[in-house]
């Protein structure tokens, strides 16, 4: 989230789209209720289903799954055509005035940006960039009239997104679409703010990242980023998915959003040189210029005393990547027989990866599989025959499987980072059952055994293992406190300031990432977490729930990264002179000598407004980006592409139906179904009574929602002869599930032009292990394709057929 849960109460308009907070995040949704009750906020819900969020909304608009960019692009067109933008914000805080290179263009007939290569399904993005002037800075036209400036290109790009076309593509009735535009436009003034709340309904598409970008662009046009009650807010799915992302347990990351070194970066100097973040305008902060300090401090955390200037702090020991080994690529390689071992830590990929048949085949080719989990997962039992639910022959599967019992939340202590970016410590409340151990103890034990083997027997390139710092008091059982101290970081030698005084003594915990250095005199595993465990103690464990400003900031509850800042980009809540846009939205302001207000300023504390440094201090431009430059795989402006399986052709450009830059592996392209055989849109979702595949292990949740079902409209039920509570078989080109039908008014027929489109809702919580009734993996049905940027799978829009069947014999 740019903002945070309790800040939602400051919103004047709340748009829930691509999520269903009332059911999936019920206790966070209370802040929407607060905003409605005490701030007269209006709740707008745009969703294929009339969800419980929709049930309490002021306005609901249906939408066909996978057409969010068409809808949101239409909103952009509405705002620009009706002059409903926050002009001063757009002119000063976005790249609207930047001139784009002459080689950039978009061809609306072909549906392609310049630079496309169909062979590699990727773009040469060189021209998606600013004109650079002779002074080395980006060229601007602050009048916004140059036809090559971002503002004019934006206007041109979205002029095609007329209400008529939007309505025929999305199936949202035109009057309802325009009503949503009206609500959104009421916040274009600095007096009122709007928040976007989204979750997997936006991410799980072949164009998921661009869904979110389009919403972020709307927020920038309205001036809703950096202000209380505004922002673009990812609700997120697991209690520590934010923390695991921050710590970089992802194929392309180093903690704190640093990048994995690539094969093309042969040495440390080249690696750092590619990340110099030279400002694109005079006077900009461009905070990533401190990259070297974060990276060297990370390598010191990784290799300790073995990381020295003369060995580039161990840079060569650290792995380089040739491609990003995201989970879809991992299972593709496994399917090709190129993976021998696999470790799942609290992860059930058999059920959470697309196309279950492919995953079964892939897992069957492994030599060994390790599941570290509190629960018995389907993945750990993938080789076991469960009839139709998992029809395999164990004798033919040669994979050696280990199931290691780990503790759960109640039995360990440590910090979790919530979607508000706040680290909150928790304490152990129970003893582990049986022989369960913490994830920390399991991995420490395994590491020490592997290291001992290398010490004893030698082996291939043992140096990275032998040089890793493992200087914990008890190496077999590092304590959570020791590890959070490492994440925070400490001084390794006395740190001397510019005046020659010792600012920090050797061995002391650091209090801010501003203290980090690139000469090996500091260590910190994750610069964003510096401040969470200081000389003052464990800040993540602080539990002062006071809210001095009354704006829902709670500055002493845990520790929010970065720098305990609760609302990102908050400098933008004030105008270029440092004065709040309005009294209603005042948050931080310039008092003549420094920035003061409810929160830690997202800006230099004493950086005067007349220095003209932009509020988006991480960007070399100092401003936010309506035009994404080279950073997105499929284009600098989001464009509507159909899901890879769609019931209709792409009305914007029939020649280019789906995301031209999405990666599709050989064999998976052939597995996409066609609307002739699979005429209905399938979409997966969650229920308020269940959490993924965990709660089917729980008695109470399994009583509340005991059995798998699919949800269809009354019209479709009538058409197909399906009765409420009757059995159905739902089939995609990859597999099928059998379940009971819930016939409901919650899903309606959509009219896309003259074509009626029906949606089949597939809740995903059942499986073949646990106490709930056995059910099928929803991912029997889903296609093996991900978002072009993140590779999040396309679970929210695919094609299925549905037919009534006779039920199983009781």
């Amino acid at each position: 989230m740019t903002n945070n849960w309790t800040d939602i109460r400051n919103a004047d308009v709340v748009v829930i789209m691509g999520g269903n907070a009332a059911e999936a995040h019920p206790c966070g949704f209370k802040w929407v209720t607060e905003a409605k009750a005490h701030n007269n906020a209006k709740l707008i819900v745009v969703d294929p289903r009339f969800t419980r969020s929709a049930a309490v909304a002021d306005f609901y608009c249906p939408i066909r799954p996978g057409t969010d960019i068409a809808f949101l692009g239409g909103v952009i067109n509405y705002l620009l055509s009706n002059d409903k933008i926050h002009k001063e914000y757009v002119a000063n805080y976005t790249n609207a005035s930047y001139i784009v290179r002459a080689g950039y263009k978009f061809d609306p007939e072909e549906g392609l940006f310049s630079g496309y290569d169909p062979k590699t399904r990727s773009y040469d993005r060189t021209e998606w960039e600013y004109e650079i002037g002779p002074d080395g800075y980006a060229v601007r036209d602050t009048t916004l009239s140059n036809p090559r400036c971002v503002y004019q290109l934006l206007k041109q790009h979205y002029s095609r997104y007329t209400p008529e076309l939007v309505s025929s593509v999305t199936g949202s009735p035109k009057d309802k679409f325009l009503k949503v535009c009206d609500y959104i436009a009421t916040t274009a003034n600095g007096e009122r703010s709007m928040t976007f709340m989204y979750a997997l309904g936006w991410t799980q598409h072949s164009h998921g990242s661009q869904n979110i970008r389009t919403a972020a662009m709307i927020q920038l046009l309205l001036g809703n980023i950096g202000v209380p009650g505004g922002g673009i807010n990812a609700l997120r799915g697991h209690s520590n998915v934010q923390g695991y992302t921050d710590i970089g347990i992802l194929a392309h990351l180093i903690p704190g959003y640093l990048g994995m070194p690539r094969d093309t970066e042969a040495n440390f100097a080249t690696y750092l040189g590619k990340r110099n973040f030279k400002p694109l305008q005079p006077n900009q902060v461009s905070y990533w210029q401190n990259y070297n300090k974060f990276m060297v401090s990370f390598l010191k955390a990784m290799y300790g005393e073995n990381a020295k200037p003369e060995n580039d702090y161990g840079f060569d020991w650290f792995p380089k990547i040739d491609v990003v080994y995201d989970h879809l690529r991992q299972f593709e390689l496994m399917h090709q027989g190129k993976v021998n071992g696999y470790i799942c830590q609290g992860f059930n990929p058999l059920f959470s990866t697309p196309n279950k048949r492919k995953i079964i085949a892939a897992l069957s080719k492994l030599k060994f599989l390790v599941s570290i989990d509190p629960l018995e997962t389907e993945t750990a039992h993938f080789w076991e025959n469960h009839g139709d639910y998992n029809n395999v022959d164990p004798t033919k599967i040669q994979t050696e499987v280990f199931m290691l019992p780990s503790t759960c939340f109640a039995e360990d202590e440590g910090s979790l980072t919530n979607s508000s970016r706040a680290l909150i410590w928790h304490w152990q409340g129970s003893s582990p059952p049986g022989e369960a151990k913490t994830d920390i103890d399991i991995l420490a034990d395994l590491f020490l055994r592997i290291r001992a083997l290398y010490q004893k027997e030698g082996g291939k390139v043992p140096e990275p293992i032998l040089n890793t710092d493992w200087s914990y008091k008890n190496p077999k059982e590092p304590t959570p406190e020791e590890l959070l101290r490492e994440l925070n970081g400490r001084a390794l030698t006395d740190l001397v300031d510019a005046n020659g005084n010792v600012a920090r003594k050797a061995g002391q915990q650091l209090s801010s990432f501003g203290e980090l250095r690139d000469d090996g005199s500091t260590m910190s595993a994750n610069w964003l977490y510096t401040g969470s465990f200081t000389e003052a103690g464990n800040i993540a464990a602080s539990r002062d729930n006071s809210d001095p400003s009354g704006k829902g900031v709670y500055p002493k509850w845990g520790y929010a990264w970065p720098a305990n800042r609760r609302l990102l980009y908050n400098r933008a809540s004030a105008d270029p002179n440092g004065k709040p846009w309005s009294a209603h939205k005042a948050y931080i302001e310039w008092n003549g000598t420094r920035w003061v207000g409810a929160d830690v300023p997202d800006y230099g504390a004493t950086l005067a407004p007349d220095r003209n440094a932009g509020p988006f201090i991480m960007n070399p431009e100092g401003v936010s980006r309506l035009f994404a430059r080279k950073l997105m795989a499929e284009g600098p402006f989001p464009e509507h592409y159909e899901p890879f399986e769609s019931p209709v052709e792409n009305a914007f450009h029939p020649k280019m139906a789906s995301n031209p830059a999405a990666r599709v592996f050989k064999g998976d392209m052939e597995m996409f179904g066609k609307p002739k055989e699979f005429p209905y849109v399938g979409t997966t979702y969650r229920l308020t009574e269940h959490f993924h595949f965990w709660t089917k292990h729980n008695a109470i949740n399994s009583v509340l929602q005991p059995q798998q079902f699919v949800e269809i409209s009354e019209e479709l039920a009538k058409e197909k002869g399906i009765t409420d509570g009757g059995w159905v078989k739902v089939t995609s080109n990859r597999g099928w599930v059998k379940a009971k039908a819930v016939v409901t008014k919650r899903i309606g027929k959509l009219m896309c032009g003259n074509k009626p489109v029906h949606v089949v809702g597939v809740p995903l919580h059942w499986g073949f292990i646990g106490v709930a009734r056995k059910g099928y993996a929803a991912n029997e049905l889903t296609p093996y394709v991900g978002d072009a940027n993140t590779q999040a799978p396309e679970y929210k829009a695919f094609l299925v057929d549905i037919e009534p069947i006779s039920g199983p014999v009781a």
Binding site: A444, I450, V771
Partner: protein, 199 residues
């Protein structure tokens, strides 16, 4: 702050004393003791409290966990009740149908009780010791790493990666477990590393 005797223990004790005094004063001495025995002690009176966080979605609601001495296992604590933490500014004591039933997750019959192992082609998982499991996994990992580790690429650049074993991280583990996980995987050279954020 983290673990303390329940505030209710104090209230229950005080309440029982009050009732005894009132009945005693009215001359019902025998009734009083019979009545006192009939009252089932308040179940949270003998518990320890720990502040914790709901394991499910990223609202990460505050919880209070109540545990008592485990009668079956000496020296261990058994979780008997969970409720929302009223001090937590986000959830303010509330829990949803998932969080309110989280006790069932902790006590699920399908918790893995001890390390288990399935031999190739076998139809069952069998109990093994931690030592057996960890030695065997360490050996399998080292064998694979030694056979397939890539020290330099075709262009002669040092790349030090191991592509034939993968690791998926679980997003319900703590940041501290996450950092140790990170150190573990990159130290070995693993690059097939991802977590639920990708999904």
């Amino acid at each position: 702050m983290n673990i303390a005797f329940s505030r209710r223990q104090f209230l229950v004790g005080a309440g029982a004393g009050m009732a005894g005094t009132t009945l005693g004063a009215l001359g019902f001495g025998d009734v009083e003791s019979a009545y006192a025995q009939a009252i089932r002690p308040y179940k949270l009176a003998q518990t320890m409290e720990a502040r914790n966080t709901c394991p499910y979605c990223s609202v990460s609601c505050g919880m209070i966990l109540y545990s008592r001495d485990d009668k079956a296992r000496s020296g261990k604590r058994e979780l008997i009740h969970i409720e929302g933490d009223p001090d937590h500014p986000v959830n303010r004591g509330t829990l949803c149908p998932k969080g309110a039933a989280a006790l069932d997750f902790v006590r699920a019959k399908t918790r893995v009780p001890y390390p288990m192992h399935r031999k190739p082609g076998s139809n069952k998982l069998e109990r093994v010791s931690w030592d057996f499991a960890m030695d065997r996994i360490a050996k399998l990992m080292k064998e694979d790493r030694d056979q397939n580790f890539i020290a330099t690429n075709g262009a002669g650049v040092t790349v030090n990666r191991w592509v034939t074993t993968g690791f998926l991280g679980g997003c319900a583990a703590t940041n501290e477990a996450g950092w140790l996980t990170y150190k573990f995987v990159r130290s070995l050279g693993l690059v097939q590393v991802d977590n639920q954020a990708r999904i």
